[in-house]
């Protein structure tokens, strides 16, 4: 089977990068405490796994991210749908939501720690807060801008009231909601790390922070790699799940509408 030229080129580039790094660290030209060799990083990563420390940090981070993400997303969908359906509610709270949305969510880290301490509550709150806005704005737009043509088709087939809402409005808004959720995945990761760096007793962010204090640059790199892997696999799993659960998503109309999605400012 033929391997594409790009694959080969990518492989060569990657190997060259890590090879050069390894050589540089071992050569003595740079301090190998400041820049540990890839092989050293792999070794310390392995020992962190074996002694159970990395799984513990990773578990804590994943749990926070998941709880915060779900809480923020559920609330955002509910508020977004309600605001799109009830003009009075929209009129009442829209200025407030827009105001809070304008503040970068990372700026709330010190406040959240002051209010909720360095325990789980502050982290979950911050993640939920960060996740809320992209999901909210996309849900609101998706429900508000349901296709008038499909609305007519549905009405001429007898759809009205809650059935119209459940079978036409919500599915029609799903491409927007999904886009919002996807943006929020990366937001959740950013906020998670910021919150853990600012103060925690567990977590991948804490691992990086603590390793810095004990001059374990190799462990800091392990933390960075784990975070990268978390973000990558979260996005991959999300995409797989969407493709599996909503096979129509991304095709036809959904694809065309995707381009218009207003991106919420990320954290």
């Amino acid at each position: 089977m033929a391997v594409s030229r790009n694959t080969v080129a990518g492989l060569i580039g990657t190997l060259a990068f890590f090879g050069a790094w390894e050589a540089l660290s071992r050569s003595g030209l740079v301090n190998n405490v400041m820049l540990p060799a890839p092989s050293t990083i792999v070794q310390s990563g392995w020992s962190l796994i074996v002694d159970g420390e990395l799984p513990r940090h990773l578990g804590a981070s994943l749990l926070r991210a998941a709880v915060g993400f779900v809480a923020g997303a559920v609330l955002a969908v509910l508020v977004g749908v309600a605001m799109a359906q009830l003009p009075l509610l929209h009129g009442t709270i829209n200025p407030l939501v827009q105001m809070f949305r304008a503040v970068p969510s990372l700026a709330f880290v010190p406040l959240a720690i002051f209010w909720f301490g360095i325990g789980e509550a502050s982290k979950i709150f911050l993640i939920a807060w960060g996740v809320f806005f992209p999901v909210w704005v996309n849900t609101y737009i998706g429900v508000r801008d349901t296709s008038p043509l499909l609305g007519r088709a549905a009405a001429s087939l007898g759809a009205r009231g809650w059935r119209n809402f459940a079978y036409v409005v919500i599915p029609g808004a799903l491409p927007f909601i999904i886009a919002g959720l996807r943006i929020s995945l990366s937001v959740a990761l950013v906020v998670l790390v910021a919150a853990e760096l600012a103060g925690a007793a567990f977590g991948v962010g804490y691992l990086i922070q603590m390793s810095q204090q004990v001059f374990r640059v190799d462990q800091m790199f392990v933390g960075l790699i784990v975070l990268g892997a978390m973000g990558f696999s979260a996005d991959l799993l999300f995409e797989r799940a969407v493709r599996r659960l909503l096979p129509w998503y991304g095709a036809e109309r959904a694809g065309q509408r995707g381009g218009q999605i207003e991106r919420s400012r990320s954290a």
Binding site: R152, A153, A155, S156, R163, P171, W248, E252
Partner: protein, 265 residues
């Protein structure tokens, strides 16, 4: 020629399905008024396959939208089955030019949609949908999503969907206009078959003279400024119709004149 039909005050036992009296619609764009539909009066009997033919701006789509319940007429009276139209209803099925299938539903679920809204049980829905998919010649397409179907297949699914609730009236708004010539012609033949089998009353809007002549049992010609009926003829061509027959061409030329194409070109 005036196509106005006089309505007798008492309703006969075999009353027409649709009765319009002095029906009109005026759009107010804020910068003046546009009369999309002047005073249109007509009756349509059950089982007719009526084609409404006319250039753009003649009010044919406005007439269809009023019948569908999407647009309320600004004046005049319109009755379907003896009662006034109050918004869209599954009683009046609509087939749109752009198909308007729900992209998140499979073909089968699209066909079942109206039945689901009516609260029918899943098993009954599936049975009806299967029959309709067979009727439109797509018995194998049930599990496919709209994005997996060609334009012609989508429109057949849309027709099946509109027929599912057994509407007394099927409104078709230039349904084949976006399709290529071969697909269009095969769907025209299929529509005639469906009409023969199911006997729905169909109001078919088109700007295509040949299409109207091929399909219609009755042909209503409309003209613009203001939108009005200029001719209302029974199409007596025997079926299956041949587009090359002398009578077909005679009528074609007559309709061209009626629409005013000859003077325009």
């Amino acid at each position: 020629m005036n196509a106005r039909v006089e309505i007798s005050p008492q309703i006969a036992v075999d009353q027409p399905l649709i009765t319009c009296v002095d029906l009109g619609h005026v759009y107010d764009s804020g910068r003046g008024q546009t009369t999309a539909l002047g005073n249109v009066s007509l009756t349509i009997d059950r089982g007719e396959l009526v084609c409404v033919l006319g250039p753009s701006g003649c009010g044919k789509t406005t007439l269809l939208n009023i019948l569908a319940g999407f647009v309320a007429p600004t004046h005049g009276d319109i009755r379907v089955n003896g009662s006034a139209i109050e918004g869209p209803s599954a009683e009046r099925g609509v087939v749109f030019q752009d198909y308007s299938l729900f992209p998140w539903l499979t073909a089968q679920a699209n066909v079942e949609f109206g039945l689901r809204m009516a609260g029918l049980a899943a098993r009954e829905r599936a049975g009806i949908a299967r029959d309709l998919l067979r009727l439109v010649g797509l018995p194998e397409a049930g599990a496919k999503y709209p994005f997996e179907l060609s334009g012609g297949m989508k429109q057949r699914i849309a027709i099946a969907r509109a027929l599912a609730t057994r509407p007394s009236l099927l409104l078709m708004d230039e349904p084949f206009a976006a399709l290529d010539a071969m697909t269009r012609s095969s769907l025209q033949t299929r529509l005639i078959d469906i009409h023969r089998q199911e006997q729905p009353t169909i109001l078919f809007v088109t700007h295509n003279i040949a299409e109207a002549l091929f399909l219609a049992s009755r042909l209503i010609v409309m003209s613009a400024n203001p939108g009005r009926i200029v001719e209302d003829i029974r199409v007596d061509l025997p079926r299956p119709r041949r587009r090359t027959s002398p009578r077909f061409n005679e009528l074609y030329e007559h309709l061209e004149r009626a629409i005013g194409l000859e003077t325009a070109e």
